[in-house]
Symmetry: C3
Subunit: 263 residues, 3 copies
């Protein structure tokens, strides 16, 4: 069997010792672990951003991958640490909803990690990534005995993704995130955009008082400088500018409202 | 034989699921692959920046390394995906010139990746990094049978690096990039700077109406605050400020013109 | 025995070929090495920031880990390259004090790396990370024969961490760094804060003309928007804002003075 894979998703950034400490803890317990950095630039304390980040990539990983997801504003409070077994993979994360999209897409067994002998000792009240989540993943990767870590629970925290909503002759959505290119990922999906409209190449999408009129298959089919709509690789409607930056061109950021005109 | 090495260079940043998805795809196909992050901070859609990034480091890697380079503004359009065999290493990238400096320095066989059974299915029109380039690298790393991926081609896209140009009693160059220290990497090389001048420690380099007068061997030999010129580790003339930031001190950025006075 | 672990800490950022080149050199010499990125966002040329980064995480790593720490404003000058054997781990770094906190906490043998046959040839005057430190780590990871790399020395550079100082009825400290959340890590430790005060939950901490009045165990116990003090996971007193950004709320940055009122 190949070496176990442990991935890391956090909002810690990579300018100090935080992620580094988690890596050390994992390798110290399980030197065979293959560490994979997924994303340490989750918006600070932003559970939705963390949820989207892991949900948009986990399914590409091999069976038995263990994903550690630490976006944890409630660290050290009553919120529980969780070990989640999905159909083929594992997730270790705080019980704050950051795995909501995993629960939505997978059949999951959720455990409250309570077997303290796996934790670092003492456990710092401010850094469970290092003291609880990293050691749990490292020990789990030895024998994959999830039941050793704590009892199954049913009352874990989950939220529903903010969905686009019909409003008269239109659908109102929101910009979920802006990527490195300035592309705006909205929460509209193929269910919200009539297939005929998508196929026609014409759309009426209002954002920040401006209008996006063209629907294309990919970035390079927009005229340079012109905002266009397209379905991105994660299944959401995105607004982009070919060789430009849609966020800057349209003057919008995360959270901006988007209105699709169906008339 | 040791585990195959696959490196990743992209302009995706590391604040979302894009790079993460590529890693998942590679490990799912080839769990033995050793992933190495080279640079995910290539300037967005900037093919020259990507070309410089990979060209300045590939030769340090061991034989059989596979370099995946995804700076791909034309994703989903007619531009072809390429698999390039250099003398000892492999490159997987879009056919947009991002490997131009590799073609310049290595004897290469260039193939159009057309064997679709290696691709993810379906292939998204907006994310070939995940759906074409990552799986190609992962499958290649199993048996290194390049001919299985598609036919050799000769009409691949290549550009010539913008070279410094003589202009009367001077040479005109340009700032290619600014690094994390604020050092300005220009396109002037040892061929553009007379050896006697370089050895004398005196130089006349004009940039943004300011003058750089001193040529040194390394950063710490400049007086604090004073802009100096030196040959950087990639072979280009750089402008730096000892314990300072040349880009801020001189008020210039990428693309700024640099004039070397030969008189 | 498992594959050797080599970690990398630099101030190079990750937007070019610098870190990438070091990785290539290591893997070319020692393809079995497991590379672990610790932190490439050390503040440029900031030896104290680098010293804190490695000191706050090294002890979590397994025995025999080799830590490469390149914050090296004096590259190419007379400053020596060092190989340091601590009780269980190894450090490769320039002799400029970046390992000061390791010397303080571990019993160390310090060697001047002088065995030039391990270096890349030629050695660039501006990039010893690639040409000296990376190859040293890669060769060391083959047989762990430290004495082969050069003679023991005693006159290596070390500095003392700036400590908080009593000043009448108060203690004056400083903000050492700001993390990704905007939390302010000060140089005050549990020795500077009377235990009774820490336990009481009340504190009087002045920073930039503002006052922090509450001491809590963890971030989530502060009222939203309210600056609070707590002991962070690295043992230092930190100032944080629950689901906010203390640096922005208080208008301070690294280097700001902090006064703890003991009256």
């Amino acid at each position: 069997m190949s070496d176990p894979i442990i991935t890391l998703t956090t909002d810690f950034g990579t300018s100090d010792h935080l992620v580094a400490s988690m890596k050390g803890v994992i390798l110290n317990i399980n030197p065979a672990a293959r560490l994979v950095d997924l994303n340490h630039g989750v918006a600070p304390c932003d559970i939705l951003d963390g949820a989207l980040s892991i949900a948009n990539c986990y399914r590409y990983f091999p069976p038995r991958t263990i994903h550690v997801v630490v976006v944890d504003p409630g660290v050290g409070t009553q919120r529980r640490p969780l070990l989640v077994s999905a159909e083929k993979q594992y997730f270790v994360a705080p019980d704050n909803g950051v795995l909501s999209l995993i629960y939505e897409r997978e059949s999951c067994t959720v455990r409250h990690i309570s077997a303290e002998h796996y934790f670092l000792n003492p456990v710092s009240p401010t850094f469970h990534g290092r003291d609880i989540f990293a050691p749990t993943a490292a020990w789990l990767a030895k024998a994959f005995q999830t039941e050793a870590f704590g009892p199954e629970i049913a009352d874990f925290v989950r939220f529903t993704m903010p969905k686009a909503k019909p409003a008269g002759q239109s659908v109102k959505g929101v910009v979920l995130r802006v990527d490195a290119f300035g592309n705006l990922m909205t929460n509209l999906t193929a269910e919200d955009v009539p297939a005929a409209m998508a196929a026609s190449g014409e759309i009426k999408l209002a954002v920040n008082g401006k209008e996006v009129k063209k629907m294309v298959l990919t970035f390079g089919l927009g005229a340079p400088g012109e905002p266009v709509a397209l379905f991105g690789s994660a299944g959401f409607l995105e607004i982009a500018v070919n060789r430009g930056n849609a966020a800057r061109t349209l003057g919008v950021n995360r959270g901006a409202e988007v209105t699709l005109d169906l008339a």
